[in-house]
Subunit: 341 residues, 2 copies
DNA sequence: TAAAAGATTTGAAGCGTTTCAATAATCTAA
DNA sequence: TTAGATTATTGAAACGCTTCAAATCTTTTA
C-alpha cells in the first residue's frame, strides 16, 4: 500500500499560494475580507494540494465544537430512530453534526456517553435521561455544555425539555378502550421505573378511576419495551384461562404491542380485537402494517427532534437572552383494526 | 444563569497536585509508569477540579481521532439500523465511537459526510456507497483514512468490503416462488441504479431463465425502498385487471413488501398468498409481525456491522500487515405465510 | 499631490495535549 | 558505601488552526 503522505496544512497552502498563513485562514473563514485575486490564488492552492481543514485544531482554538451529542433509550425503536433523524437533519442544515448514542436505559452507558461528549467538548447535548442522571447533567451544564431533555419533562426549570404528555396519552388510550365497551383492562409496559411508562400508567389509572368501579386495571410489567418482551408477555396471557384474561390491553409502546400480536397469532386462539382489544403507543410506521393493524397513540417524533435542536442551538448561540422552555406536545389517538369492534 | 467557569486544563491539575504537566499526562496515558503515591495525588486533583480531557487537543497531537465514520443509505430502515447498531457496539468495546450519517442514496449527502469525516480526521470510514463515490473514497484512502465498503462488494481489491451475495439472494427468492407453482413473477424495487437492487434483480432473472419459458419476470421500478413507495406500487398493481396481475411478487426489501401488503389489504380484493404470493428481503423484525407474516431473505445485519468494524480496525492498527478482504455472507430464505400456499 | 482613511495582509501568540530527551530519585549489587 | 543500573519526573517542543495588533497597500479627499 502507498505510504500515506502527510496532510497539507494551512502553512503549506500559504507557501504555495505565496501569501501568509493568516490570509489562508481568512479565505476560509472571512472570505469577504480578502481581495478576490488573492482568494483565487489561495483557492487554487487548496485545490492543488487537496487541503482539508483539520477540525481538531479549529476546535482546540475555539474551545467548542460544531458537534452535538444525543442519547436515546434505543435507536432501534423506530420512534427514537425517527426522532434522531429529525434532530440530525435539522442540525445538519445549521452546520452541526450529531453523535448518537444508545443508552439502553442503562445508567452506565448513559454516563459513558456523557463522558465521551464531554471530552469532545460538544456544544450541546440532547438526552432522554434515566432517573439517576440528573447530577451528571447538572455537572455538564456547569461546564457550559447546554443540555435539552427530550421525550420527558425536565424535573426543574433550569433546562429546556421537549416532551409529549404521557399522562394524557395513557388516559386517552384507556378511555378509548372503555368507550368500545371493554372493562377488564391490562396495562403492559416496563420497567415501571421509566418515567414515560409510569406516566402512561398513571394516565391509564386515572381513566379507569374516573370511569368508576365497573372497570379494572391490572398491570403486567415487562422486562423491556421490545417485540421480544411483548411476545413473552403475550404468551403468559395466552396461557391463562380465558376467563382470567383481560378484554383489552394497553401496551406502553408499539413494539410491545406487536409482540403481543405475534404471541396471540401463534396460539391462534385469541382473536384481536374480538377477544382482546389492543392499543399501542408511538404509532410507528409498522403499526399500520401489523397482522392486525394497530391502534396507537401518535407522538410527533420528528418534531420532537427538530424542536430539541432549535432549543439547544438557541441556548448555545444566545446564552444570555435564553429562557428555558418546557415544550409539551399533545399525543393523538389513532384507531385501527385492533380496537375496532 | 451561572457564567461557565473555564475548563481546568492538565496544567491546572499539575499545579494543584504539585507535579509537572508531563506526569499528569502519564497518569492518564501510562499509569504503570508513575509511582502509586504520585498517581494518587494526581487523581485527587483531577477529581477535585472536575478535569475532563480535551479530546481536540489530543487528536491534534495524535493526528488521528478515535472516531469512525459510517454512511448508510437509510438509518430508518431497520436493516441498516441493526447494522449500525452492530458497528456501534462493536467499536465502543474497542474504544472508538461512530459518527453516523444517512446518505439517502444521494451523492451530495454522501459527499458532504465524507468531507465532514475528513475534517474530523476520523480513523476510518464504513460506507455503503452510491456508484459515483469511488473517487472520493480513493482520495480519502490516499490521505490515510481507511475505508471499508459495506453491504456491497468493493469494485476493486484495493479495499475491504463486507457484503451479502445479492445475486444468490435474488435467485433464492425467485426459485422459492417458482417452487410453489408461481409463474408470472414481478420484481419490485428501485431505483435500479442501486447496485444491491440490480444484483437482486439479476439473480431473479437468472432463476427465471433457468426455469425456462414457462415463467416470466416483469420489473416494476419503485421510486424508493420505503413503505410508502411500496404502497404506491401495490395500488398500481391492484388497479390492474386481475388477469394482468402477477401471481407472485419479489420485493427488493421488506419495507416495500410491507407497503404492498398494506395496499392489497386496503383494496381488500387481492389475497396474499392465494392471489399473489409475496416475498421481501432483509428479514427485518417487523416482517414477522406483518398483516400477512412475510417470507423474506435474511441478511446478517448485525454481523455485517461487526465484521466491518473488525476489518477497518485491523487496517488502522496494522496498516503494513493488512491484506484486503472481500467478505461475502450468504443470505438465507425464511418462509412465512406470505408464500405458504 | 500629500495626507488621512480605509482595505488588505502579515505573523506571532496560544489553545491543551502528547512526546521525548534530559534530569533526578531510587534501588541493586559488589 | 558507592558506582551503575533502573525507575520517575520534568518541561520544552510540536500539532494546525484562529485571532488580533501591527504593518502595508489603496483609495479618497482637500
Amino acid at each position: 500500500m502507498a505510504t500515506a503522505k502527510p496532510r497539507p496544512s494551512i502553512q503549506d497552502v500559504a507557501r504555495l499560494a505565496g501569501v501568509s498563513l493568516g490570509t489562508v485562514s481568512n479565505v476560509l473563514n472571512n472570505p469577504n475580507m480578502v481581495k478576490p485575486a488573492t482568494a483565487e490564488k489561495v483557492s487554487r492552492a487548496i485545490e492543488q494540494l487537496g487541503f482539508v481543514r483539520n477540525d481538531a485544531a479549529r476546535q482546540l482554538k475555539a474551545g467548542k465544537s460544531q458537534t452535538l451529542g444525543m442519547i436515546v433509550f434505543d435507536a432501534g425503536n423506530p420512534f427514537f430512530a425517527e426522532m434522531a433523524r429529525g434532530a440530525e437533519d435539522h442540525s445538519a442544515e445549521r452546520g452541526y453534526s450529531v453523535l448518537l448514542g444508545n443508552s439502553d436505559n442503562k445508567y452506565d452507558r448513559e454516563k459513558k456517553y456523557l463522558q465521551l461528549f464531554d471530552e469532545q467538548r460538544v456544544a450541546g447535548v440532547l438526552v432522554s435521561p434515566t432517573n439517576d442522571i440528573y447530577d451528571q447533567i447538572t455537572e455538564l451544564r456547569s461546564h457550559g455544555t447546554q443540555t435539552v431533555v427530550i421525550d420527558r419533562k425536565a424535573d426543574s426549570d433550569r433546562c429546556c425539555s421537549v416532551s409529549v404528555d404521557d399522562f394524557a396519552g395513557g388516559k386517552t388510550a384507556v378511555e378509548h378502550l372503555l368507550s368500545i365497551g371493554r372493562r377488564k383492562i391490562a396495562f403492559v409496559g416496563g420497567p415501571i421505573t421509566i418515567q414515560q411508562v409510569a406516566d402512561r400508567l398513571a394516565g391509564a389509572m386515572a381513566a379507569v378511576n374516573e370511569f368508576g368501579p365497573a372497570a379494572t386495571l391490572s398491570v403486567i410489567e415487562s422486562s423491556a419495551q421490545t417485540v421480544i418482551a411483548g411476545r413473552n408477555v403475550g404468551q403468559v396471557i395466552a396461557q391463562r384461562a380465558a376467563a382470567d384474561r383481560p378484554d383489552a390491553i394497553f401496551a406502553a409502546n408499539d413494539l410491545l404491542a406487536m409482540g403481543i400480536v405475534q404471541a396471540f397469532m401463534f396460539n391462534n386462539e385469541i382473536a384481536i380485537p374480538q377477544d382482546v382489544a389492543l392499543i399501542g403507543y408511538d404509532d410507528i410506521d409498522f403499526a399500520e402494517a401489523a397482522v392486525v393493524p394497530l391502534s396507537s397513540i401518535r407522538q410527533p417524533a420528528r418534531l420532537i427532534g427538530e424542536t430539541a435542536i432549535e432549543l439547544v442551538l438557541s441556548e448555545i448561540n444566545e446564552p444570555q437572552g435564553h429562557v428555558h422552555q418546557q415544550v409539551t406536545y399533545q399525543p393523538e389517538l389513532v384507531v385501527r383494526a385492533s380496537t375496532r369492534v
